[in-house]
C-alpha cells in the first residue's frame, strides 16, 4: 500500500499512479494542458507543477508517480506563482483573438487564464505571425494559437497510428504541420480536433457558424455508419446538428471517432432528401399524399397476395434501420403478408458466416467485446481491411501492434501495412490454399483439446495442404507461410478478424470451415467485420428467410408455433427466398411484389444491369428511403422516411452490444416523413392487422416479450452502460450441429486460376460507406471521386501514373476511373469501390450466387485495364 498526502488529505493507493491521478481521486484538481487521459504523458506545458516535500524542484504531476510517504502540495504560493508564470509564457505567442476564435467558450487556455492567469501580460514585443491555413477542405490550422502541447501529434501517431502530422521547427517558432505540407491527406479521423485544447486545429465544417454557448441541446447517440457503433454526442441548435463530438468516457470508442462518424453526419440535411411520397403515374414518379400512397400500397399488396399468395411477395430489410424498424418489417412480411421472403445485405456475408460459426461453437460465438482485440496475445485478419471497414476496430489492431502483439494479415490491407508483424498477400483466388496450409501446419503444432470431438473429426478430415503447394498457388514463399503458422501457434487466445471477402467468394464455404478450424485450434475469438450499423440487428430481429426473432430457426416447429400463437396467426413453414433468390425470382416472374425498406438493391448488389432488369419486371415495388436512390427510381411507390438522427430506436453492433439510437432533431419529421415502422404499421392496419405502437418503446417492449434472446430489455438497460450479449435473455443452447458441413476436396482448396488474369475486387475506401456517404458534402470534399486501386508495378508496365484515367472492363461492363497507385498491392488485382453514382464496382461484376451460402460470388471477375489517352478522348469526344 502506498500512503500519499495531498494538500493534507491522506490517500491510500494500491498501485503507484501519477500525482495527477492521485489528486483526482482525492477530489483535488490540478490544471493541465498537454496532459490528456487517452494520450501518453508528455510533461511539456508545465502547468501541473506541484510542490513535493523534500524535493527541491517543483515537479510535473502528470509525469511523476506517487511513492509511499510522499507529501504533495498543489496550491502553495510557489505553485500558484509557477502556474501564473506558465500561463503568462503561453500567452506570449498565442494570438489573443478570442472574440473571433471558434474555440472561445470551450478553450482550455482561455478557461485557465481566466481562473489562474495574470490579468495582464508584460510581454511588450510583437507576437509571431503565421497565416491561417485553408489548404485543407476539412481542417483549418491556425498556428498563431498553437501552444505546442503536441496532443494532436501524439494522438495522430500513437493512437490513430496515422503519423500524418509533426511538430516543425524549434523554440517559439514551433508549430504543427502535416507531412504533406498543405492538405492533410490523412485518415481524417479528426481525433486531433478532439484533443486540441485551443483553437489551433479546428473543423472547417462549422467555422464561424455558431459559438459553443449557442448549443441548445446535446444528444448522446450512436453513429450511423458502421457495425462498430461508436457513441457520439450530437450538438444541436435550431433543429440542426451543428457538430458531432465523441463522448470521452462513454461507449466502446472511448473518445475516438473516424472520419465518417465525425464529419459524415451532414447527409441527413442533404437537399436531396425525399420530402413527400411519390407514386408512379403514367410512367413518372409524381408527388402524392400519404393517404393516397397508403391506400395504393394496401390495395396492390392485397391484390397480389390474394391472387399469387404471400410467397409472391418479398421484402428487403435494411442494416441502416433500427431493430424496431426491422422487427416490425419482418412481422409485416410474415404475419401480415404471410411470406418468409425476407432478407437483407446482411445475408450476403455477415449472417451466413455467423451462422456457420454458431452451428459449430454455439450461439453468441461472435459476440466478443472490441477491447478484447487490443488485449489479446495475437491477431489474425483476413477478408477485409478493418481500418477502413470498421475504423475504430482497426485502431484496436493498431494499438495491439504497438504493444508488440503479433498481427498476421492474409490479403492486402493498406491500413495495416505498417502494423502487421507478418503480411501474407497471395495471388488472386489463392487465399484458401494459404489458409489450408496454415491449418495443416497448426494441426501439427497444436494438440486438439478434445472439447468438441465431432468438430475435431471434421478438422481431421480436411485434406492437408503442404507449404510447398501453398507457395506454388499463392506465390508466397513457403517459409513465410510456415513462419506465420509458427507465430500463430504461439498465441493462446487470439482475435480472429474476418471480413466479407472471405465469404463472398467461390470458396466461401471452404474459407469458413478453415477459419472455424483455425479458431478452434487457436482457442480464438471471432470478430466479424460489419460495414453497416445494424447487420447484427437484422439477424437478431429475424430478417432472414429462415430465422425468427432472437435467432430462432424457422425450421423448428415449436418456435414457429410459439411465434404464431403470439401473433394469433400461422407462420408459414417453408423457408423464404434470400435477397438474391428474390431478385432472381423477380426476373423469373415468381416474385410479383418487392417491398424494400431502406436498401438500394439496384446499386448495392452485383451486376447492376441485371438487378435493374429484374426489378423492372416486377408488378409492384415499394421503396421506403430517405433518398431517391437508384432503386427508388424504379419503384411504383416511394415513401420518405426519417434518418438516423430523427428517430428513436436501437442498433445491435458487431459485438452484439445493444445501443440506444436517440432522436436529435425533428428534421424531416416536420415535413411529414415517418419512421419506417410507422409506415409499415399503417399499411398493416389497412390490410387488417392492427399494430398498436405509439412509439419505438412499444416495439421494443414487444421484442422483449417475443424474442427469448431479448427478454425483458429496455432502453434504460442500454442507457445504463454496457449492454452486452446475452443481455438478460436466453441464448440458444444447442449441441454442435455439423450435419451440414461439407468436407472440401483437396482440389477445391488448391484451386488456382488456370491462366494468369487480372481480377477486379471491391475497394472499401475509408471515406465512404455504401451509398449513404455520397450525400455527405463533408465526406465528398475529402474524397469526391471514385478511383481504381492498382499495383504500382502493373501501373508502371502500362505507363499509368497516379490520377490517369483508366477503363476497367469486364464481361458485365466498363467503368472509367482515375488510377490510385499502391506499392503494396498484388499485381493481379485491381480494386474499385462501390460508393459513387454510376461508377460502382457492381456495374462490372457479374451475377453469380453461391449455391450453398446464397452469397454473391465476388471474386474471380476477370477484367482488362486500358489507359485512356486524353488526346484521343478529346478527338473522339
Amino acid at each position: 500500500m502506498i500512503t500519499v498526502t495531498i494538500n493534507g488529505k491522506k490517500l491510500l493507493l494500491e498501485k503507484p499512479v501519477t500525482i495527477l491521478d492521485a489528486a483526482k481521486r482525492a477530489g483535488i484538481h490540478i490544471p493541465t494542458l498537454c496532459h490528456h487521459e487517452i494520450l501518453e504523458a508528455f510533461g511539456g506545458c508545465r502547468l501541473c507543477l506541484v510542490e513535493i516535500e523534500k524535493v527541491p524542484r517543483l515537479q510535473t504531476s502528470c509525469t511523476m508517480n506517487v511513492t509511499d510517504g510522499m507529501v504533495v502540495w498543489t496550491e502553495t504560493e510557489k505553485v500558484v506563482e509557477a502556474r501564473k508564470a506558465m500561463l503568462e509564457f503561453l500567452l506570449i505567442n498565442h494570438a489573443l483573438d478570442c472574440p473571433y476564435c471558434d474555440k472561445a467558450g470551450e478553450c482550455d487556455l482561455q478557461d485557465l487564464s481566466m481562473k489562474y492567469g495574470p490579468a495582464a501580460g508584460r510581454f511588450a514585443e510583437g507576437k509571431r505571425k503565421h497565416p491561417e491555413s485553408y489548404d485543407d477542405p476539412i481542417i483549418v490550422r491556425n498556428m498563431e494559437r498553437c501552444i505546442s502541447c503536441t496532443r494532436c501529434v501524439r494522438m495522430c501517431e500513437r493512437v490513430q497510428g496515422d503519423s500524418a502530422i509533426s511538430m516543425v521547427n524549434r523554440t517559439s517558432k514551433t508549430f504543427v504541420e502535416p507531412f504533406s505540407g498543405g492538405r492533410y491527406n490523412c485518415e481524417y479521423c479528426g481525433n486531433c480536433l478532439t484533443v486540441c485544447p485551443v483553437g489551433a486545429i479546428m473543423s472547417r465544417l462549422h467555422k464561424h457558424t455558431y459559438r459553443p454557448w449557442y448549443i441548445e441541446k446535446e444528444v448522446n447517440t450512436v453513429c450511423s455508419y458502421c457495425g462498430v457503433g461508436c457513441s457520439l454526442t450530437a450538438q444541436v441548435r435550431g433543429d440542426s446538428i451543428v457538430r458531432v463530438v465523441p463522448e470521452m468516457e462513454k461507449g466502446l470508442n472511448k473518445g475516438l471517432l473516424c472520419n465518417r462518424g465525425r464529419f459524415g453526419y451532414d447527409y441527413v440535411t442533404s437537399p436531396q432528401r425525399l420530402k413527400t411520397p411519390l407514386i408512379r403515374k403514367e410512367g413518372e414518379l409524381q408527388q402524392a399524399t400519404w393517404s393516397e400512397a397508403f391506400a395504393f400500397i394496401a390495395q396492390k399488396l392485397k391484390e397480389i397476395k390474394e391472387k399469387e399468395g404471400g410467397s409472391a411477395i418479398a421484402g428487403i430489410a435494411s442494416a441502416r434501420c433500427t431493430n424496431e424498424d426491422n422487427y416490425v418489417f419482418q412481422k409485416f412480411l410474415r404475419v401480415v403478408l404471410g411470406s418468409n421472403n425476407i432478407d437483407s445485405v446482411a445475408g450476403f456475408a455477415f449472417a451466413p458466416a455467423q451462422r456457420f460459426f454458431e452451428n459449430i461453437f454455439g450461439q453468441g460465438v461472435t459476440a466478443n467485446p472490441l477491447h478484447g482485440i487490443s488485449r489479446s496475445d495475437g491477431i489474425f485478419i483476413t477478408g477485409a481491411d478493418p481500418t477502413t471497414v470498421n475504423p475504430i476496430l482497426g485502431l484496436q489492431v493498431r494499438g495491439a501492434s504497438r504493444k508488440r502483439v503479433p498481427v498476421v494479415t492474409l490479403g492486402h490491407m493498406p491500413g495495416l501495412v505498417r502494423f502487421a508483424t507478418q503480411r501474407l498477400v497471395p495471388q488472386p483466388l489463392t487465399d484458401t490454399a494459404v489458409l489450408a496450409a496454415l491449418v495443416t501446419e497448426l494441426i501439427k503444432r497444436r494438440p486438439l483439446s478434445g472439447e468438441k470431438p465431432a468438430f475435431e473429426e471434421i478438422i481431421g478430415k480436411i485434406p492437408p495442404v503442404s507449404l510447398k503447394d501453398a507457395e506454388e498457388r499463392s506465390g508466397i514463399p513457403a517459409g513465410e507461410i510456415g513462419g506465420c503458422a509458427e507465430i500463430l501457434s504461439g498465441m493462446t487466445n487470439p482475435a480472429l478478424i474476418i471480413g466479407r471477402d472471405s465469404v463472398q467468394s467461390s470458396r466461401g464455404q471452404e474459407n469458413l470451415l478453415l477459419l472455424a478450424a483455425l479458431t478452434y485450434l487457436l482457442n480464438g475469438r471471432i470478430y466479424l467485420l460489419s460495414e453497416l450499423p445494424n447487420e447484427q440487428g437484422l439477424v437478431d430481429m429475424g430478417c432472414l428467410p429462415d430465422m425468427l426473432p432472437g435467432g430462432r430457426p424457422l425450421a423448428v416447429e415449436s418456435f414457429r408455433k410459439r411465434y404464431g400463437e403470439f401473433f394469433s396467426t400461422e407462420i408459414p413453414a417453408a423457408p423464404g427466398l434470400s435477397l438474391m433468390e428474390s431478385i432472381e425470382g423477380a426476373k423469373a416472374g415468381k416474385i410479383k411484389a418487392l417491398y424494400i425498406m431502406g436498401e438500394n438493391v439496384a446499386y448495392n448488389v452485383p451486376d447492376t444491369a441485371f438487378v435493374k432488369e429484374a426489378l423492372s419486371s416486377l408488378e409492384f415495388i415499394v421503396v421506403q428511403d430517405i433518398f431517391l436512390n437508384e432503386t427508388a427510381r424504379l419503384a411504383h411507390v416511394v415513401l420518405p422516411t426519417l434518418a438516423w438522427s430523427e428517430k428513436e430506436g436501437s442498433y445491435t453492433n458487431l459485438e452484439r452490444r445493444l445501443q440506444h439510437v436517440r432522436k436529435a432533431v425533428e428534421g424531416a419529421r416536420s415535413s411529414g416523413s415517418m419512421e419506417d415502422w410507422r409506415i409499415i404499421a399503417e399499411i398493416s392496419r389497412m390490410l387488417g392487422t392492427e399494430m398498436k405502437y405509439s412509439d419505438a418503446g412499444d416495439i421494443l417492449a414487444e421484442i422483449a416479450k417475443v424474442s427469448p434472446l431479448h427478454k425483458g430489455i429496455t432502453y434504460g438497460d442500454m442507457d445504463a452502460g454496457e449492454f452486452l450479449w446475452p443481455y438478460k435473455g436466453e441464448p440458444l443452447r444447442h449441441d454442435v450441429s455439423i450435419a451440414g458441413i461439407e468436407i472440401p476436396e483437396a482440389g477445391s482448396l488448391l484451386k488456382k486460376p488456370e491462366k494468369e488474369a487480372l481480377y477486379v475486387g471491391i475497394e472499401r475506401p475509408l471515406f465512404h460507406s455504401a451509398t449513404q456517404s455520397r450525400s455527405s458534402s463533408a465526406l465528398n470534399s475529402i474524397l469526391p471521386e471514385p478511383y481504381v486501386r492498382l499495383s504500382r508495378a502493373l501501373a508502371q508496365r502500362m505507363s499509368i501514373a497516379d490520377g490517369d484515367s483508366v477503363a476497367v472492363s469486364t464481361s458485365a461492363g466498363t467503368v472509367e476511373l482515375p488510377a490510385l497507385l499502391d506499392p503494396d498491392m498484388p499485381e493481379g488485382m485491381v480494386l474499385v469501390a462501390n460508393n459513387f453514382a454510376d461508377r460502382g464496382v457492381f456495374r462490372v461484376m457479374s451475377w453469380r450466387m453461391h449455391a450453398a451460402t446464397k452469397s454473391p460470388v465476388l471474386d474471380g471477375m476477370e477484367a482488362t485495364l486500358r489507359k485512356i489517352d486524353r488526346k484521343t478522348a478529346e478527338v473522339s469526344g
Partner: protein, 420 residues
C-alpha cells in the same frame, strides 16, 4: 603532469592505428578482455571517474545500473554532440586520438555486455566523421572491433551517426530519440536510459572524454588513477580555453587545477596584458565569475562552492574591453535558437529574455527591465523539462548578479538618448 588523453597529440599521424598501437594503444583492451566484466565495472567505480559531459555523474554507478538490467541487447552510445559555445575539448580526441575513444568503448561494451555502440557525432564536425570512420575501419580490420574482438569471442560493433545540428541532442534522452530517427527532444525520466534507452533497451550514454579515460583506468588501475587530481573527482581533465588569453587551446590538466592557474600559468595570462573582467568557467551555461573569483579548483565538487559549475570545463575569458550585456544577449540568443520547443518556460521565456536584452543593448531599455529580466529568469529556472532552460535562466541571473552596473549603464544611456 604527464599527458594521457593527449599523449600522442603532437604526432601528425596520431589518428592512425599504427601510431596509436606504437604508443601503447589497445593494450588496455587486451588486458580488459582477460578481466571479468564485473571486475571492470568495479575498477571504474573505484577509480572515482565522473562523467565528463558536464553533469559529473559517477560513471561506474551508471554502468552498474545498466549491467543489472536483464533486458537484451544493450547499447552503448557515445555522446560526441559537442555543441555548447566555448566547448571544444572532445574535438582533439575525435580528430587526433580516435582509437583511444574506440578502445574505451570496446572495453566499456565488454564490461556492460553491450554488443552495439554508436558515436553520436556533432553535425558540424565533418572532419571528425571521416577520421572516426577511417579509424573504425582500421580497428575492424585488425580485429579490435567486430564479431570476435581480439579472438576472445567478444562481439562489439561500432558506427558513427551524425547529428543535424541541434544542441538539445547533447541531452542524452534527446540524443537517443534523434538516433531512433525521431525529433530530438528530451524524454520523461524515469525510465532512465540505463533501463529503457535506445529502442527501449538498456543503454549507457557517456561522453567522449569519459570513454577516453577508461583505457587509462584499466592500464594503471583504479588506485593509481584515483590519486590523480582532486580526491573527490580524480583523473585527468581536458579544459578548452578560449577568449582573451595569450594561448587559447585545449589543455590536459589534473582535475582540480585552479581557474587562475589555467588562465595565468598554462594560457600565459590575458592577451595584451589587459585586465581580466570575467570568466565563464565551464561552458556557456555555467554561471559567470567576476575577475576576483577565479581562485577556485576546477572540479565537479568544488565549483558549486565557488558560485559556478565545472560543466564541460570550457573556460571563456573576457577582458576589460568586453561589453558583458552583449555577451549575455549573445548567450541568450543561443539558448533561444536551441530551445527544442518542448516545454513552455524555455520555449517562450528564453525568447522573451532575449527580446528584453535586445532592447537594452539597442538603447531602448527602461527602468523596470532588469527586474523584469530577473522575474522572467526566475519563472524559467527550476520549471523547465530539461537543464537547457535552467542554463539559459542562470546565465541571465548571474550576469546581472555580478555585473548589474553594466546593465544599468546601458539603460541609463537610453534614458539620456531618449530625453535628448
Amino acid at each position: 603532469m604527464e599527458k594521457y588523453l593527449l599523449r600522442n597529440i603532437d604526432n601528425p599521424d596520431s589518428a592512425h592505428l599504427v601510431e596509436y598501437v606504437k604508443a601503447g594503444g589497445y593494450k588496455a583492451l587486451a588486458k580488459a578482455l582477460e578481466m571479468k566484466p564485473a571486475d571492470i565495472i568495479g575498477e571504474v567505480k573505484n577509480s572515482g571517474l565522473r562523467g565528463r559531459g558536464g553533469a559529473g555523474f559517477p560513471t561506474g554507478m551508471k554502468w552498474s545500473f545498466a549491467a543489472a538490467d536483464p533486458k537484451r541487447p544493450k547499447y552503448l552510445l557515445c555522446n560526441a554532440d559537442e555543441g555548447e559555445p566555448g566547448t571544444f575539448k572532445d574535438r582533439p580526441l575525435l580528430e587526433k586520438n580516435p582509437h583511444l575513444l574506440i578502445e574505451g568503448m570496446v572495453i566499456s561494451g565488454y564490461a556492460l555486455g553491450a554488443e552495439y555502440g554508436y558515436i553520436y557525432l556533432r553535425g558540424e564536425y565533418p572532419a571528425a566523421k571521416d577520421i572516426l570512420e577511417g579509424a573504425l575501419r582500421q580497428a575492424h580490420e585488425k580485429g579490435y572491433l567486430g564479431d570476435n574482438v581480439l579472438g576472445k569471442g567478444v562481439a562489439f560493433h561500432l558506427s558513427v551517426h551524425q547529428g543535424a545540428g541541434a544542441y538539445i541532442c547533447g541531452e542524452e534522452t534527446a540524443l537517443i530519440d534523434s538516433l531512433e530517427g525521431k525529433r530530438g527532444q528530451p524524454r520523461i525520466k524515469p525510465p532512465f536510459p540505463v533501463n529503457e534507452g535506445y529502442l527501449s533497451k538498456p543503454t549507457v550514454v557517456n561522453n567522449v572524454e569519459t570513454f577516453a579515460n577508461i583505457p587509462y583506468i584499466i592500464e594503471i588501475g583504479a588506485d593509481a588513477y584515483s590519486k590523480i587530481g582532486s580526491a573527490e573527482c580524480p583523473g585527468p581533465k581536458l579544459y578548452s580555453v578560449s577568449g582573451h588569453v595569450k594561448k587559447p587551446g585545449v589543455y590536459e590538466l589534473p582535475m582540480g587545477v585552479t581557474l587562475r592557474e589555467i588562465i595565468y600559468v598554462h594560457c600565459g595570462g590575458i592577451a595584451g596584458d589587459r585586465k581580466l573582467k570575467a570568466v565563464i568557467p565551464g561552458g556557456i551555461s555555467t554561471p559567470v565569475l567576476p575577475a576576483d573569483k577565479i581562485d577556485c579548483p576546477m572540479d565537479f565538487a568544488s565549483m558549486p562552492k565557488h558560485g559556478s559549475m565545472l560543466g564541460s570545463g570550457a573556460v571563456m575569458v573576457f577582458d576589460e574591453t568586453v561589453d558583458l550585456v552583449k555577451v549575455c544577449l549573445r548567450a541568450t540568443k543561443f539558448f533561444e535558437h536551441e530551445s527544442c520547443g518542448k516545454c513552455t518556460p524555455c520555449r517562450e521565456g528564453v525568447g522573451w529574455m532575449r527580446s528584453i536584452l535586445e532592447r537594452i543593448v539597442k538603447g531602448a531599455g527602461t527602468g523596470g527591465d532588469i527586474e523584469l529580466l530577473l522575474e522572467v529568469a526566475k519563472n524559467i529556472a527550476g520549471k523547465t523539462f530539461c537543464p537547457l532552460g535552467d542554463g539559459a535562466a542562470s546565465v541571465v541571473q548571474h550576469f546581472i548578479k555580478h555585473f548589474r552596473n553594466e546593465f544599468e549603464e546601458h539603460i541609463e544611456k537610453s534614458k539620456v538618448g531618449a530625453s535628448a
